[in-house]
């Protein structure tokens, strides 16, 4: 039953619920009226029969007193006008029968099994009423009336017929009304469901559910549409993100390739050349007999090897700055600013030494690269003349501010576009990867300030992932 109801369409649920409620209420009301009617009707009938017995008794006082059975029977025979009186007995003061009356169609006497001075009982579909006959305060006899319950049963039958008719008609009327009215509730839900089905099947996120009214269903439709809007916005963002990630991956490959080529050409152009010449110089030693010439060749070879060493160190530094590992982030950033200042003829001010705690290598590398990127951005894209790098820190965070006096940009429009946007995007991604964040304050002609804020106790799990 429960499952059967659960799987019914809303339209039918509403109809079933309404009909069940309507018929239950009607039935309960009918039963209440029915019971009330029966009780009051029986009471009324009882009063009627009791007063009839009283009248008969009052008329029978002389017949009882003077023991006149003939007159008593004549009095009882007047009950013939009451067609539901089946049998009647007049008892004297000693409960002896003085006279009886029997309806002509009744075949045998219906004496009560128990005679009481006053009261009534129901037996075998009959009402048996006793009324005392009193003369001057003294009970001189009893009238007993056996009354047929046919009127009660007839009324019962009529009532049941009326109730069933009214119930049937009401349920039909209720069904007609509910069938019409339920569509106000079920139609918006059906429409919403159809829209959801269409979106699921066709994937068309531009579809929207039609809603009306300010009720819960209206709110549901509105919520559904808002949800679709949000999904659409997120979809666009996600696609943009994916595009950037793909671009970033390609860029990374290119950068790596370029870097490799640079290192290769560096090694080829300088170190290899120097080592070749040094090799040549050393091989020439065997040909020289002159001690001075040998010494000169060795000196030249030493110079070449020293040059190669120096070149190799420089390359190593660019590839992976050893200062970062040896002296920490603060010092590495200091040297970076100096290097950039000399390399790009840029005025770079470093304000550091505030960070009290040691920053882990992973975070240091990311921050170092980020600052480097920002400095190069300031030179290349912002045409800045002066850049300030400020490092502060607390127990659990490190905060680096890179502020330039360049041309600036419109953050909302420029950030996601172009190579500078790509750089910022990349930094933001890397920072978020270690639980940090980047705040950019920029305006056209007012320079750019970028703040990198990173928690020191970066979650290992985050880093490892």
């Amino acid at each position: 039953m429960k499952y059967w109801f659960r799987d019914l369409p809303i339209k039918w649920k509403l109809t079933v619920v309404s009909l069940v409620v309507t018929s239950s209420v009607l039935l309960a009301a009918s039963i209440a009226f029915f019971v009330y009617d029966q009780v009051s009707f029986r009471k009324q009938l009882l009063n009627q029969v009791a007063s009839l017995a009283g009248v008969v008794g009052a008329n029978s006082t002389a017949a009882l007193t003077f023991r006149d059975a003939r007159v008593a029977e004549r009095i009882l025979s007047t009950l013939g006008t009451e067609r539901h009186v089946m049998f009647s007995v007049l008892y004297d003061s000693k409960d002896t029968v003085l006279a009886t009356y029997r309806r002509p169609d009744i075949e045998q006497d219906l004496y009560p099994s128990l005679v009481v001075p006053n009261g009534y009982h129901y037996h075998a579909g009959r009402l048996c009423v006793f009324a005392p006959v009193v003369l001057e305060g003294e009970r001189i006899g009893i009238v007993c009336l056996i009354y047929s319950m046919d009127p009660v049963y007839a009324r019962l039958g009529r009532y049941a017929a009326v109730v069933l008719t009214v119930l049937g008609a009401s349920i039909l009327a209720a069904w007609a009304l509910v069938s019409y009215l339920q569509s106000y509730v079920s139609r918006p839900i059906t429409r919403l469901m159809e829209t959801a089905d269409q979106i699921t099947a066709g994937g068309d996120m531009n579809l929207r559910a039609e809603g009306e009214g300010g009720d819960e269903i209206g709110a549901l439709v509105m919520g559904f549409n808002t949800m679709l809007d949000q999904i659409e916005v997120r979809d666009v963002e996600l696609r943009e993100h994916q595009k950037k990630l793909r671009s970033l991956a390609a860029q990374l490959v290119l950068t790596e390739e370029r870097e490799r080529r640079r290192i290769a050409s560096g090694i080829h152009d300088s170190i290899c050349q120097m080592l070749v010449v040094a090799n040549m110089k050393l091989s020439m030693l065997s040909e020289y007999g002159d001690r001075n010439a040998v010494i000169q060749s060795i000196t030249e070879a030493e110079d070449l090897i020293n040059g190669a060493l120096s070149e190799a160190r420089s390359l190593t530094f660019q590839l992976s700055p050893p200062v970062l590992y040896e002296f920490g982030l603060d010092e590495a950033l200091h040297r970076l600013t100096e290097q950039v200042a000399s390399q790009y003829e840029l005025n770079v001010v470093f304000e550091g030494g505030q960070s009290e705690r040691e920053v882990s290598e992973d975070i240091s590398v990311i921050l170092y690269r980020a600052v480097r990127e920002l400095l190069i951005n300031a030179y290349k894209h912002a045409s800045a003349e002066c850049v300030v790098v400020n490092v502060t820190g607390s127990d659990n965070r490190v905060r680096i501010m890179v502020k330039d006096d360049g041309i600036g940009f419109e953050p909302k429009t420029s950030i996601p576009r172009g190579s500078s946007g790509f750089g910022l995007f990349s930094i933001r991604e890397r920072l978020s990867h270690i639980g940090g964040k980047m705040v950019v304050r920029a305006a056209p002609g007012a320079g750019t300030t970028v703040i990198l804020d990173v928690p020191l106790a970066a979650d290992d799990a985050v880093l490892n992932s």
Binding site: T61, A72, V97, E136
Partner: protein
């Protein structure tokens, strides 16, 4: 004038026997109830079905007096009726043979053995507010008001409404209903 002696025991036994035989018969006068017992009960009950002229019954609470010319046939049938009440008054029984003894009674049962004596007493009681009761054929014709007549072994009532009117008595319709009316003295 003397009060009847209480002979309640014998009457009580008879009554008990009658009460126990709750035979559902159509009998108006059960055979085991004696004629005079019935007459005694009827005499007392006339007080409930008759109205006397104002003032005749005396102050409230004063008794209604039932006079009997000869109490012998009753054989104590009055015993358990003593102390009964009607119209809110006690009923008392008097036995008396002379007019002076009977004229103060409200109900008088004239069962004198001599018809002439009865007629003479009736003559003198006629215009007085006394309910005269007899048991002789012709009692109503002689001017009596109620007569016990034996019919088919049962005690029947005969009533002379003219005599009742003369005596200033009002008999209830119910009493008249159970009685044979002999207004013209045709009993």
């Amino acid at each position: 004038m003397k009060l009847l002696p209480r002979v309640a025991v014998a009457a009580g036994v008879v009554l008990l026997a009658a009460g126990m035989s709750r035979a559902q018969t159509n009998a108006a006068a059960p055979g085991d109830v004696s004629e005079y017992r019935l007459k005694a009960v009827f005499l007392y009950n006339f007080a409930k079905f008759a109205d006397w002229p104002d003032g005749t019954l005396g102050e409230p609470g004063e008794p209604i007096v039932v006079g009997v010319y000869d109490a012998k046939p009753f054989e104590g049938a009055f015993g358990d009726l003593e102390g009964k009440r009607a119209k809110g008054r006690p009923l008392i029984l008097l036995e008396g043979q002379t007019f002076s003894e009977l004229e103060g009674c409200h109900i008088v049962f004239l069962n004198a053995p001599d018809d002439l004596l009865i007629k003479s007493l009736l003559q003198r009681l006629r215009s007085r507010p006394v309910l005269t009761v007899g048991e002789r054929t012709g009692f109503c014709r002689w001017g009596g008001i109620v007569n016990f007549s034996m019919q088919e072994g049962r005690v029947r009532l005969q009533v002379n409404r003219v005599a009742a009117e003369k005596a200033g008595l009002q008999l209830s319709a119910q009493l008249l209903e159970v009685s044979e009316l002999v207004d013209k003295g045709d009993d």
